[in-house]
């Protein structure tokens, strides 16, 4: 069944009347009191008797939970939240912690900058206002790093009992359906409309519960797919459902119920400019709201990674080995996490391409300023669209050798290489990037390179610590590949680089997470 084209309609179609407002508030809160999920550790009943200090503690709890819940499922969040609250029961404990501990507790949740911002926020709040988070949405958003409009509204309403509306993904969906908002979900006008609705709808009494009820409705009944309209407490005020019902009636009776030209004749009333024209093959269902966002294909990126192991040549014990880890920059993707030395292979600027074109094809050309990012290997002249810096393992190894030399002072020509081999390529999907890690494994005689003191940016760590370090999931796959290699070819050392990629699918454990990231080792 195909829905007819979205009719033109008035802007008031997306508004609530005062009667509807009160009805929805009443119905939704009643439903929430009966049906709310009670196993969520951060959910506590709003208590009018709390003093400022207790309320500030609630604000901290709500803040942590809301930040964790961004982009993360509830079920995933619960154990992390509990772990976090045990380690940092108050905002002061968090402020006093070091970033390593914070990142370690976060490892596995993704979007690591969230952890850092929580930590920075806690420090700022402890410094500036003795650990008490601001109590209005506006000042929360302004003063606390990492707190956006949504989180600010949630903390203000849930912890401080302020009459502040808020819009997260769930709430946006609920309002889109209640008021049949057919605009681009990422569009400014759609978002502003949803916020305007949220601010209008939130009641003075129990604002936090009302906002949570909306989220709960979106999470349990008004779900993206297969919403459960039959059990919805506000179904009688839902425009999306109304449209479905009236269209069904219209299609079955083959009669036009209403002529829309009547509305259009009223020129002095504002017409809706938010909604987009309807899709032809739009399904007749409430799920047509909100509109699907046009998804961009993830960006392709490649990266050369080298697991460097320094090993005393005379030692057979694998525990004597040390691995080189570097800290990622404080901003950007996977900020502040540890990783193996790696070089992005996609960074070619336009100017660089041009100059490379002028040069004769040669192996491994070093650009004039000699920084490792501009290092360009063999390029065919007349191929301006060439993006990758390295096409095969030889070129990647050359780039990596250079990188190790300039960044870590490890000169591969002078030190004793026990083994250097390709581990294969691993693809890791981030929400917006499809990243291919080309992994290689380099084993160096520990006596042939200088001992360097560990810094907070570069460390040599043991095999045991490697399992526990805050390393992004994508690179943990590399550790797995290396361990496989160690068990397969422990005796025979591979001299030449195998050209074939390691087929990782063949190992049944490949792609499975390490149990040690769930279960803690007991002290003996």
């Amino acid at each position: 069944m195909t829905a007819p084209k979205l009719h033109r309609h008035l802007a008031s179609y997306h508004k609530f009347s005062e009667i509807e407002r009160q009805q929805i508030q009443k119905d939704l809160l009643k439903w929430f009191d009966l049906e709310k999920r009670t196993h969520l550790p951060w959910r506590k009943e709003f208590d009018h008797t709390l003093d400022t200090e207790q309320r500030a503690q609630r604000a901290y709890e709500v803040w942590v939970s809301e930040i964790m819940l961004q982009q993360t499922q509830v079920a995933t969040t619960i154990p992390y939240y509990n772990k976090w609250m045990t380690s940092f029961p108050t905002i002061h404990d968090l402020a006093k912690a070091d970033i390593e501990t914070v990142n370690k507790l976060w490892a596995g949740l993704g979007y690591y900058s969230r952890a850092r911002r929580l930590w920075e926020g806690a420090q700022k709040i402890c410094r500036e206002s003795n650990g008490v988070l601001p109590n209005t949405a506006k000042s929360l958003e302004e003063k606390v790093p990492g707190v956006g409009r949504y989180t600010a509204g949630a903390i203000a309403s849930i912890a401080w009992g302020q009459q502040a509306g808020t819009v997260d993904g769930n709430i946006a969906r609920v309002y889109s359906r209640l008021r049949a908002i057919g605009g681009d979900p990422k569009g400014k006008s759609t978002i502003e409309l949803q916020w305007a609705l949220a601010d209008y709808m939130v009641p003075q009494d129990r604002p936090g519960d009302f906002n949570q009820a909306l989220m709960e409705l979106g999470a349990t009944l008004c779900t993206p797919q297969k919403p459960d309209c039959k059990h919805c407490p506000v179904q009688k005020n839902c425009r999306a459902l109304e449209e479905v019902k009236s269209t069904q009636k219209l299609l079955s009776s083959e009669k036009r119920v209403k002529d829309e030209s009547d509305d259009e004749s009223e020129v002095d009333i504002e017409e809706c400019h938010v909604c987009l024209p309807n899709d032809i093959d739009d399904e007749l269902s409430v799920t047509r709201y909100p509109r699907k966002a046009v998804k961009k294909a993830p960006r392709e990126e490649e990266c050369a990674v080298c697991i460097v192991e320094k090993k005393p040549a005379d030692s057979k014990n694998p525990l004597d080995s040390k691995f080189l880890l570097v800290k990622r920059p404080k901003t950007g993707l996977l900020a502040g996490l540890w990783e193996f030395p790696s070089v992005e292979l996609n960074e070619t600027c336009v100017a660089e391409k041009k100059s490379a074109k002028k040069r004769k094809p040669s192996k491994a050309v070093v650009s004039s300023d000699d920084s490792e990012d501009d290092y360009v290997p063999e390029q065919k002249s007349g191929s301006p669209t060439l993006k990758l810096l390295a096409k095969d393992s030889d070129e990647r190894q050359a780039i990596m050798g250079k990188h190790l030399m300039t960044t870590f002072d490890i000169d591969l020509d002078s030190c004793n290489i026990l083994r250097r081999t390709e581990l294969g390529s691993v693809v890791h999907l981030f929400s917006h990037i499809r990243k291919t890690y080309h992994m290689e494994y380099l084993e160096i005689d520990a006596d042939s390179i200088d001992d360097v003191e560990d810094t907070d940016q570069v460390q040599w760590i043991s095999r045991d610590e490697l399992a526990l370090a805050a390393i992004p999931t994508g690179l943990k796959k590399g550790i797995k590949l290396m361990e496989n290699l160690a068990t397969v070819g422990a005796e025979k050392k591979i001299k030449s680089t195998p050209r074939k990629k390691v087929k990782i699918e063949k190992d049944p454990a490949a792609g499975t997470r390490n149990l040690l990231s769930f279960f803690q080792q007991k002290p003996k």
């Binding site: 196993h39 995933t76 993704g110 999907l429 080792q521």
Partner: protein
């Protein structure tokens, strides 16, 4: 036949002292009515673990070990009351090579009475198999080894979905999906549990509906659900776990998103075999 004299009328049976008397320096003595149980248990874990400690104490025999890749863990418990008699004076870890133990257990008949014995400070585990009719006794000693065991603390988890189902059905599903896929996605909802796999040749799925198969409780699928879950696991490991199928007609799968799966086979009144398997790395981040 009845008229023929019994062999013991003529011969002194030299091994009877092994089964009946217990010398004072014996630390552990555990007697199982059916060797079959231990034989099946070994079959159920030997693919996953090659060497590990059997931790014996007065409450029973326990084992916990991870596989080499550190993605799966097996935990085994045999309670003392499943043995008759059972005696273990103090904590005693028995480090064993499971391949070798299995070789010896193969020598036992399914219905043999099996006795495990270890001496204080001894370096062997004695296994005695007595035939049901008490007309044959085999004694084997297996050398013990020193194993540095790593014990993991497994947190108490309240799982979002607990599925009780036929163990044979679970084995069948793992075997069937292994034909086409290397991993299986398990979706548990209030209606049922769905296993699906995808491979180069195509894809497949098996859905078991939550049913009230009152006539045949062994076959019924029951789901206790707090919240729907969807998780992906390596089939090779799951298929390995199903080696425990002969131990119990029922299996329990306990799941929450993003935590290891628990697969449990209960041994009637005697204990359990539990397997934990870490989920596959999702596409989050």
């Amino acid at each position: 036949m009845d008229a023929l004299p019994n062999a013991s009328d003529f011969f002194f049976f030299p091994y009877s002292h092994l089964t009946t008397t217990t010398t004072l320096d014996t630390m552990l003595e555990a007697r199982l009515q059916q060797a079959k149980l231990l034989k099946s248990l070994l079959e159920a874990i030997k693919e996953l673990v090659t060497e590990c400690n059997f931790d014996c104490n007065d409450s029973g025999i326990a084992l916990q070990a991870m596989d080499n890749s550190h993605v799966a863990l097996v935990a085994l418990l045999l309670r003392s009351d499943g043995f008759d008699p059972y005696r273990c004076d103090r904590n005693l870890p028995l480090g064993l090579n499971l391949t070798n133990l299995n070789k010896i257990l193969k020598c036992a008949g399914n219905d043999d009475i099996l006795t495990l014995k270890a001496d204080d400070g001894g370096d062997t585990l004695s296994l005695v198999f007595e035939s049901k009719d008490n007309d044959k006794i085999c004694e084997y000693d297996l050398k013990l080894m020193d194993i540095d065991s790593e014990h993991l603390g497994i947190p108490d988890t309240s799982y979002d979905a607990i599925v009780h189902m036929s163990s044979a059905e679970f084995q069948r599903i793992c075997r069937d999906l292994s034909q086409i896929s290397e991993s299986v996605k398990i979706d548990a909802t209030k209606d049922g549990i769905k296993f699906s796999g995808e491979g180069e040749v195509g894809n497949g799925s098996i859905t078991l509906k939550q049913n009230a198969n009152v006539d045949n409780e062994d076959e019924a699928t029951r789901i206790e659900l707090q919240q729907s879950v969807s998780l992906t696991f390596s089939l090779k490991y799951l298929a390995n776990f199903t080696k425990a199928t002969p131990l119990s007609t029922r299996v329990t799968l306990s799941m929450s998103n993003d935590v290891p799966l628990l697969v449990e086979y209960k041994l009637d009144n005697l204990g359990y075999v539990r397997y934990y398997l870490a989920p596959k790395i999702g596409e989050e981040n």
